[in-house]
C-alpha cells in the first residue's frame, strides 16, 4: 500500500512510520504545519507546532529513508479547531480540541488530500487498535497499553475513515517499549518528552489564551437558588466540576464546598452548588458518529467514557436519529461534572461503538 505517515516530530509517530515501512508499505512522511504564525505557536518541544518539531520530523524521515513533506493546514486548523475551541468556550461549553483535530484535520483534511493524491491510508502514532474480524468492516478497539489508550479521541471517525487509517502502535506494550524501539532504530526523538497540553496554547495557559482571544466578559456567580454569590470576568474561565479559584465572597449556608454546576451563556452566569448536584444520571448527546450502531432504538448495555483519561462506567445507551441517550447504571461509581461540549464515547469491552457530543445531562437520583 501507499501509506502517508503523519510525522508530528514526536517519538510515537516516528516509530509508527517505521513499523509501516517494515510492513513493506511505500511510506511518505508528512508533517502538518498547523500554526499560522511562521515561527510557532509555542516554544519548546512539548507541543506539535514548533519549528523544532518540524525538524525532528524531517530527521525521522531521513533515518527511515522516506520522502518528507510539510503540508500547510494552518488555515484549516485555525478555522475549524481553534474557531470551535473559542466558540464552544464562549457558549459555556467545554470542547476537546484534540477530538476536533482528529475529526477535521488528521482524518479529514490530511486524509482526503492523501487519498486524492493516490495514497491508500494514513498512518499515525495513536495508541488504538483496528481489528477486522473475518476481514470485514474495521472495528476500533482500545490499545493494548490501557494507560496510553487514545481510542477516545479517535472515536469521532466514521467507518469509512477508520478503514483508511493505520495505528501501528496499538499493540505496543508500553510507551517505554516504543521509546526503546525508537532508540534501537536510531531515531533521535527516542528521549523526547511527551506532549500534554493543547498544542496551540502557549505555556499551557488556556485561561490566558481565552482571555486574549475572547476578551473580558464580566458576569455573576449565583447559587442554585439564584442568589448572587460572586462575580467573574468571563464564564469561559470556569469548567463544570471546578472547585478551586471561585473566589466566592460568602460561604455556603451549610458550610460545604461549592462547585461549578453549570454555565449559562445567555445570561453569562456561572451557577455553583454542592458536590452531589454534580452527579450525573443520564447524558444526552448529539452529532453521533457510529462505528458499531446498536440495532433499532433499543437500550443496550455498554460503558461510557467522557474524558480522554477518564474511566468508562457501565451504562445503557440507545441511538435516536443522530442523537444518543445514555443512562448510567444504578450504583455506578458515578460520573461527576460532565460538561456540554465534551465527547462521550461508548464502548463494549475494548470496542468503540460510537461517539457523540454531550448536549445536556440529567442529575443522578438522590441516593
Amino acid at each position: 500500500m501507499r501509506v502517508l505517515a503523519a510525522l508530528s516530530g514526536g517519538v510515537d509517530s516516528a516509530v509508527a512510520a517505521a513499523r509501516a515501512v517494515d510492513a513493506g508499505h511505500e511510506v511518505v512522511g508528512v508533517h502538518m504545519a498547523l500554526s499560522r504564525n511562521r515561527a510557532q505557536l509555542r516554544s519548546g518541544s512539548r507541543g506539535c507546532c514548533s519549528i523544532e518539531d518540524a525538524g525532528d520530523a524531517r530527521r525521522a524521515a531521513d533515518v527511515l529513508g522516506i520522502p518528507y513533506y510539510v503540508w500547510d493546514l494552518s488555515e484549516r486548523f485555525e478555522d475549524t479547531v481553534i474557531a470551535d475551541f473559542l466558540s464552544e468556550y464562549a457558549a459555556g461549553r467545554t470542547p476537546n480540541p484534540c477530538v476536533r483535530c482528529n475529526e477535521h484535520i488528521k482524518f479529514e483534511a490530511l486524509l482526503d488530500k492523501a487519498l486524492a493524491l493516490g495514497f491508500d491510508a494514513v498512518c499515525t502514532g495513536h495508541y488504538a487498535r483496528i481489528e477486522r474480524p473475518g476481514g470485514g468492516q474495521p472495528e476500533l478497539h482500545r490499545a493494548r497499553d490501557a494507560a496510553k489508550d487514545q481510542s477516545y479521541v479517535l472515536a469521532v471517525m466514521g467507518p469509512e475513515r477508520l478503514a483508511r487509517s493505520m495505528f501501528p502502535l496499538g499493540d505496543a506494550a508500553s510507551k517505554d517499549d516504543v521509546r526503546a524501539e525508537a532508540a534501537a532504530r536510531g531515531l533521535s526523538v527516542s528521549a523526547k518528552p511527551d506532549s500534554y497540553d493543547i498544542c496551540f496554547v502557549a505555556d499551557g495557559d488556556t485561561q490566558g489564551f481565552l482571555r486574549e482571544r475572547l476578551g473580558a466578559r464580566p458576569g455573576e456567580v449565583v447559587d442554585t437558588t439564584g442568589a448572587v454569590v460572586g462575580a467573574h470576568d468571563g464564564a469561559y474561565a470556569y469548567t463544570i466540576g471546578q472547585r478551586k479559584g471561585l473566589a466566592l465572597g460568602r460561604p455556603a449556608p451549610d458550610g460545604k464546598p461549592r462547585y461549578v454546576l453549570s454555565i449559562e451563556p445567555v445570561s453569562n452566569t456561572v451557577v455553583v452548588g454542592p458536590a452531589e448536584a454534580l452527579r450525573v444520571g443520564g447524558i444526552q448527546g448529539d452529532a453521533a458518529v457510529w462505528l458499531a450502531r446498536p440495532e433499532g432504538d433499543d437500550w443496550s448495555a455498554c460503558a461510557v467514557q467522557v474524558r480522554a483519561h477518564g474511566e468508562a462506567v457501565p451504562a445503557q445507551a440507545r441511538a435516536l436519529g443522530d442523537e444518543v441517550e445514555v443512562q448510567l447504571a444504578d450504583g455506578a461509581s458515578g460520573l461527576q461534572g460532565v460538561a456540554p461540549g465534551q465527547s462521550l464515547v461508548l464502548y463494549s469491552g475494548t470496542q468503540v461503538l460510537g461517539q457523540a457530543t454531550v448536549r445536556a445531562t440529567t442529575p443522578a437520583a438522590r441516593a
Binding site: 513533506y69 500547510d72 488555515e75 457558549a91 483534511a109 493524491l117
Partner: protein
C-alpha cells in the same frame, strides 16, 4: 535514476571543480601563515581570486570571498547601508525590488528593525521586471535619503532579467550605491562587473558547478563597505575568517569553466527550455508560464508555471514519486510552504501562486529529461487538481457547524 530539473537550487559540481577541490583538500597550510605551507595556500587562494576576477570582469582586489551567496548579500546590504549612512546620516532608505531573494530581503528588513533603516520595496511588472518608472520616481522624491539599492541580476524563481544598466545609471545620478545578486545569472548570461556599472555583486559557488558554502562579493574599488564579520582581518578587513583554500580553488575553477562554456551551453539550454515550455503547454493547455514570455528576457535555463487548481506541493510530491525532481519556488522557502512573494509581487492571486512549479535546467540536462517530464506531468496535474487546494478552509459556521 531520477530526472533532475532543479539546477537553480543547486547544480552538479563540474569535474574541473571537483579536481581542484580534492587536490587542494590534501594540502596543509593556512593562507595567512608566513611559512612555506602557508605561502603555498596563499598562492592558491590568490590564483583563485585572479581566476574569478578574470571570468567576471573584475579586478582581483575587488573579490571578497565569503561562505556563500547569502553571506555576500548580507555583507552588501548591511555593509553598504552602514558605510553610506556614516558618510551621510540622512541616507537611511534601503531600496530593494519586491522580488529579491530572502538573502537580500531579510537583511534589509532586519536593518529596518535594528539599525534604523527604512525599507522601500520597489514594484515589478507582471513579468517580474523592476518598474524603472517607480525607481525613477522614488529617487526623484527621496534620492538623497537612499543608502543603497539592491536589484538582482535575474530572478531565481521566474527567471526575469532585470534592467541593471538603467538601474545603475539612475541610482548613481543620486549618489546611491547599487548591489546586484547575480547568483542565478553567472554562467547563464554574460556577467561583466566592470561593464555593469554596479558597485557590488554577489556570486555563489554551487549554482555554477562549484562546491556549496563558498561565494564572493565583488566590491568596486574604493567602495566603502562596513565589515559584518570581525576577526583576523582577512579580505582587507572586510570579511574576517580563515580563507577556505579548497573551496576558493574549486569555486574559481567552476566559474571560469561555466563562463567559458556559456556561449555553447546557454543556447543549448535555451532551446531545451523552449521545448520544455512548448511541451508543457501542449500537454497541460491551461498551464500559465510566469515571467517574461520573450525567452531572451529570461534566464535560458528557467521555466516557471502555475497550474490552476493545483497545489505546487501536491505536484512536487507526485512528480517526485514519478522520478522528476523540481521545485515550487526557491528551496529556501521549503519547510512551511508560503505563497511565493515573487508571484504575489507580480500580481498573482494567492491561489494562483500556490500552484507554482519551477523547472530549471543545467549542464547535465538532456532531451530525455524533458521527455520524461512531459510523460508524467499530465497524470500528476490531473491528480493534484483532484486533491485541489485542500489545505484551504471550508466555509464553516462559527458555532456548532464544525462538528
Amino acid at each position: 535514476m531520477s530526472v533532475y530539473l532543479d539546477h537553480a537550487a543547486t547544480t552538479p559540481m563540474l569535474p574541473e571543480a571537483v579536481r581542484a577541490f580534492t587536490e587542494s583538500l590534501v594540502r596543509t597550510g593556512n593562507p595567512s601563515s608566513l611559512h612555506s605551507s602557508g605561502r603555498a595556500a596563499r598562492r592558491a587562494v590568490e590564483e583563485a581570486r585572479e581566476q574569478l576576477a578574470a571570468a567576471l570582469g573584475a579586478r582581483p582586489s575587488e573579490v571578497v570571498l565569503t561562505a556563500g551567496g547569502t553571506e555576500a548579500d548580507n555583507l552588501a546590504v548591511k555593509g553598504l547601508f552602514w558605510a553610506r549612512r556614516a558618510q551621510d546620516p540622512a541616507r537611511r532608505r534601503i531600496l530593494v525590488s519586491a522580488v529579491e531573494h530572502h538573502a537580500v530581503l531579510d537583511p534589509a528588513f532586519w536593518m529596518a528593525e535594528h539599525a534604523g533603516a527604512e525599507i522601500v520595496l520597489l514594484p515589478v511588472d507582471s513579468d517580474g521586471v523592476l518598474r524603472i518608472d517607480a525607481l525613477a520616481a522614488e529617487l526623484e522624491a527621496h534620492g538623497d535619503a537612499a543608502a543603497l539599492l539592491s536589484v538582482m541580476w535575474a530572478n531565481n524563481e521566474v527567471g526575469a532579467l532585470q534592467p541593471l544598466a538603467e538601474v545603475a545609471a539612475l541610482a548613481h545620478r543620486h549618489g546611491v550605491p547599487v548591489h546586484a545578486d547575480a547568483v542565478q545569472a553567472v554562467g547563464q548570461v554574460p556577467v561583466d562587473f566592470a561593464a555593469s556599472g554596479l558597485d557590488a555583486l554577489t556570486v555563489s559557488g554551487h549554482k555554477v558547478g562549484g562546491p556549496m558554502g563558498v561565494g564572493a562579493l565583488l566590491a568596486r574599488r574604493g567602495l566603502d563597505l562596513t565589515p559584518v564579520l570581525h576577526g583576523g582581518g582577512q579580505e582587507r578587513g572586510v570579511r574576517s575568517g580563515t580563507l577556505d583554500t579548497p573551496s576558493a580553488a574549486a569555486f574559481a575553477m567552476a566559474v571560469e569553466t561555466a563562463v567559458a562554456a556559456r556561449p555553447v551551453v546557454a543556447p543549448r539550454l535555451a532551446a531545451l527550455r523552449d521545448r520544455l515550455v512548448a511541451e508543457v503547454r501542449r500537454v497541460v493547455p491551461d498551464a500559465v508560464l510566469r515571467g517574461p514570455a520573450d525567452p531572451t528576457l529570461r534566464l535560458p535555463a528557467n521555466a516557471h508555471f502555475t497550474f490552476p487548481g493545483c497545489e505546487g506541493d501536491s505536484l512536487l510530491y507526485l512528480l517526485d514519486s514519478a522520478g522528476v525532481e523540481c521545485s515550487t519556488g526557491s528551496a529556501c522557502q521549503a519547510g512551511v510552504p508560503q505563497p511565493s512573494h515573487v508571484l504575489l509581487a507580480m500580481g498573482a492571486g494567492e491561489d494562483e501562486a500556490r500552484g507554482a512549479l519551477r523547472f530549471t535546467l543545467g549542464h547535465t540536462s538532456t532531451d530525455a529529461d524533458v521527455d520524461t517530464l512531459v510523460e508524467v506531468l499530465p497524470a500528476a496535474v490531473e491528480r493534484a487538481r483532484a486533491a485541489g487546494l485542500s489545505g484551504r478552509p471550508r466555509t464553516v459556521s462559527a458555532t456548532g457547524g464544525t462538528r
